[in-house]
């Protein structure tokens, strides 16, 4: 089948909060929910950076600027769907049922004892694009079981240069797998700008090349992302095959807490993106609708901060439970005798060293 190349960026909500297209038909409570998730995401991200600075957290990748995209891609998902994400997708993970403490464990270098695959969210993995073939495999399994479910896979712009990304898309196209790939194009891959990843105008151009539709949407517009993902999920569920959506957004912070973007990024770029902030624009929209005012915003923020505080306390209380014994239990289902011996020797040595 032949699909045409996307040539422009779809937008529904402008940076100053005006509608230029049809927003998805959603009840007011859900519109406020979106707001709450975006605020939660930003507060979570800032707190994780602060914890890292205080030596209480491992390396963390801030998500600031990408809140609308994360909310918009997770919101249209249904119970049976799976989310296979990158490492900057905290909000989508939370929306699909991953507790905050799980991501704290993962970024903190703890065993993720609170993780459950019942959430239908794959654990974070950092090897770029490796999640893409997994996402296709889950989609193929859904197809094989004749279930009307789909997979949403999320990847960064830089990671689309990896072989795994392209091999996975080709699988998806060939097998008509129920997969929706969302490319979080935040303009940068650490210090490498998007222009250096591909000579093509849009990453979504690869959709038609692999026999699937490709779309480009404003990633700071939660409605544009939501609508595109919802339509593609419907298509996937109807057995019409995969699609790819490139969302144009901006990494407002450092790549991770180990990175210094002033070394490679022009400062006027951030100034240019600030007015396009996804939360600002959505806030003005909700205020115009009369759904949000200062008091309501303060309530939501207080609620989110309280929830976050509980998660931080739970995370920090877990440390004593993170024992070496547990490490050995995780290698195989049945610990082979030599590994059991290594475990016993190590525990004896650790007791001696204390």
């Amino acid at each position: 089948m032949t699909f045409s190349l996307p040539t422009s960026i779809t937008q529904i909500l402008t940076p100053d909060g005006k509608l230029v297209g049809d927003p998805p038909e959603l009840p007011p409570e859900q519109l406020l929910e979106f707001y709450r998730w975006m605020v939660l995401g930003r507060i979570f991200s800032n707190r994780m950076v602060a914890l890292q600075r205080q030596g209480r957290m491992g390396t963390f990748a801030p998500l600031n600027g990408q809140e609308a995209a994360s909310v918009g891609l997770a919101a249209p998902m249904q119970d049976g769907d799976w989310l296979v994400g990158g490492y900057r997708e905290a909000i989508s993970f939370f929306m699909r049922g991953i507790p905050m403490v799980t991501l704290m464990e993962q970024w903190g270098g703890y065993i993720p004892i609170s993780y459950s695959p019942a959430t239908k969210v794959m654990p974070i993995q950092v090897v770029l694009a490796s999640q893409m073939p997994h996402a296709v495999g889950i989609a193929m399994a859904m197809q094989y079981k004749k279930e009307r479910n789909a997979v949403v896979a999320v990847i960064g712009d830089g990671a689309t240069s990896e072989g795994d990304f392209n091999e996975a898309l080709n699988f998806a196209g060939t097998f008509k797998a129920p997969l929706v790939t969302v490319v979080q194009n935040n303009g940068w891959a650490i210090s490498v700008p998007r222009e250096k990843q591909t000579a093509a105008e849009y990453i979504a151009h690869r959709g038609p090349a692999f026999g699937m539709p490709g779309y480009v949407v404003d990633g700071n517009d939660v409605f544009a992302v939501y609508s595109a993902v919802e339509q593609c999920l419907e298509r996937a569920r109807n057995g019409e095959g995969p699609s790819i959506i490139e969302v144009i957004t901006y990494r407002m912070g450092a790549h991770t807490t180990a990175d210094d973007p002033t070394k490679y990024r022009p400062s006027d770029e951030l100034a240019e993106w600030k007015p396009k902030d996804p939360i600002t624009r959505y806030t003005s929209y909700l205020r115009t609708l009369g759904l949000l005012d200062d008091a309501k915003a303060a309530d939501i923020e207080a609620e989110v901060r309280a929830e976050l505080q509980i998660a931080v306390e739970r995370y920090e209380a877990e440390r004593p439970a993170q024992r070496v014994e547990k490490y050995f239990d995780l290698v195989y289902n049945d610990t082979p005798p030599q590994l059991a011996r290594q475990r016993d020797e190590l525990i004896r040595a650790l007791n001696r060293e204390q």
Partner: protein, 326 residues
């Protein structure tokens, strides 16, 4: 003489070779303007231009595969893989292509390239950044695997690697990047690939190590000497493949006792190979079995427990003491 960290020594080696040989090119992820995520290539793009030092799309297999093509055409590529754990994505190009082309072409094509990659534990990195991958590459016949333990060796070995006609995997331990400084000559010099060095001379036992475990072994040796008055030798392998069998056998024949210390997991590791060499060539010099101090046979641990799982000074010292018992 300037006192340099390992990062500075490696940067200087790259700088010298770029200046000396127009066929040397450096490329990889974030090596250009950013100067590498550890600043190892800092300033090199500004000095030599984007044609010689450049960022690539994120594609490890293509980074090494294109280096194979460049080497075939007579260039001397020095690609960087951002972390050694990501060489898995280029495993095929390294093991089945770069390492074999000389062989496949009947010795007519040289794969003069150096693949640089940081690795190593103890610095609280996310998953797969710390993994010790060297044992996997010991089985890539045709490939040389070098792991420096000091700034001086890092510079000399890297220059030797770039000048070597065969492909070299050059693994840089992150913990050693800035942990200490050493006098390093500013001019060109080489340290031979395939030659171990005695890091600390002794006569009662040989502690064989490489990478960050050399320093740890030297410290453990001092602890045991103070406690027992024994004379402990530490041999720094420097090159993992091909191993300096002669140096291993000489040291063990002299001392009659040995342990091998390795950061990576135990089964099928470098230590196993060293012990096999001792078994074949120096068994009758031994008073005691050769012990290994390694990480356990599991994936690289969650950082909350990495200090518990990596070989500790106490565990190295205990293995030395056990082996010294009559």
């Amino acid at each position: 003489m300037p006192k340099w960290t390992m990062v500075k020594a490696i940067n200087n080696a790259l700088d010298l070779k770029l200046a000396q040989d127009p066929n040397v090119l450096i490329f990889g992820e974030d090596v250009g303007k950013n100067g590498g995520v550890f600043r190892v290539t800092d300033g090199l793009q500004a000095k030599f231009g984007e044609e010689r030092v450049f960022d690539t799309p994120l594609a490890e297999s293509a980074i090494i595969g294109s280096a194979v093509g460049m080497a075939t055409y007579g260039l001397r590529p020095v690609p960087e893989i951002q972390f050694a754990g990501f060489t898995y994505l280029a495993f095929h190009q390294i093991v089945a292509q770069a390492a074999r082309l000389h062989f496949r072409s009947g010795g007519t094509i040289d794969m003069a390239m150096v693949i640089r990659a940081p690795f190593g534990g103890g610095v609280r990195t996310p998953e797969l950044h710390a993994d010790s991958v060297e044992a996997l590459y010991m089985q890539a016949q045709g490939l040389k695997v070098v792991i420096p333990a000091t700034p001086y060796d890092a510079k000399g070995l890297l220059i030797a690697a770039i000048e070597d006609p065969d492909p070299v995997l050059f693994l840089e331990h992150m913990k050693l990047y800035r942990s200490f400084r050493q006098e390093v000559p500013a001019e060109h010099y080489t340290v031979p690939i395939g030659k171990a060095a005695i890091a600390r001379e002794g006569s009662d036992i040989s502690v064989i190590a490489y990478g960050a475990m050399v320093q740890a072994s030297v410290k453990a040796a001092e602890m045991v000497e103070q406690k027992l008055g024994a004379s402990v030798e530490v041999l720094d392998l420097r090159t993992i493949a091909p191993l300096d069998e002669e140096a291993i056998v000489n040291s063990v024949s002299k001392t009659g006792r040995a342990i091998v210390v390795q950061e990576g997991p135990r089964a099928g590791g470098v230590a196993a190979e060293v012990i096999a060499v001792i078994n074949e060539q120096a068994l009758y010099s031994l008073y005691k079995p050769v012990l290994r101090v390694t990480s356990p046979d599991g994936p690289y641990p969650f950082t909350v427990m990495e200090d518990d799982i990596l070989p500790s000074l106490d565990r190295i010292a205990a293995a030395i003491e056990t082996t010294l018992e009559p």
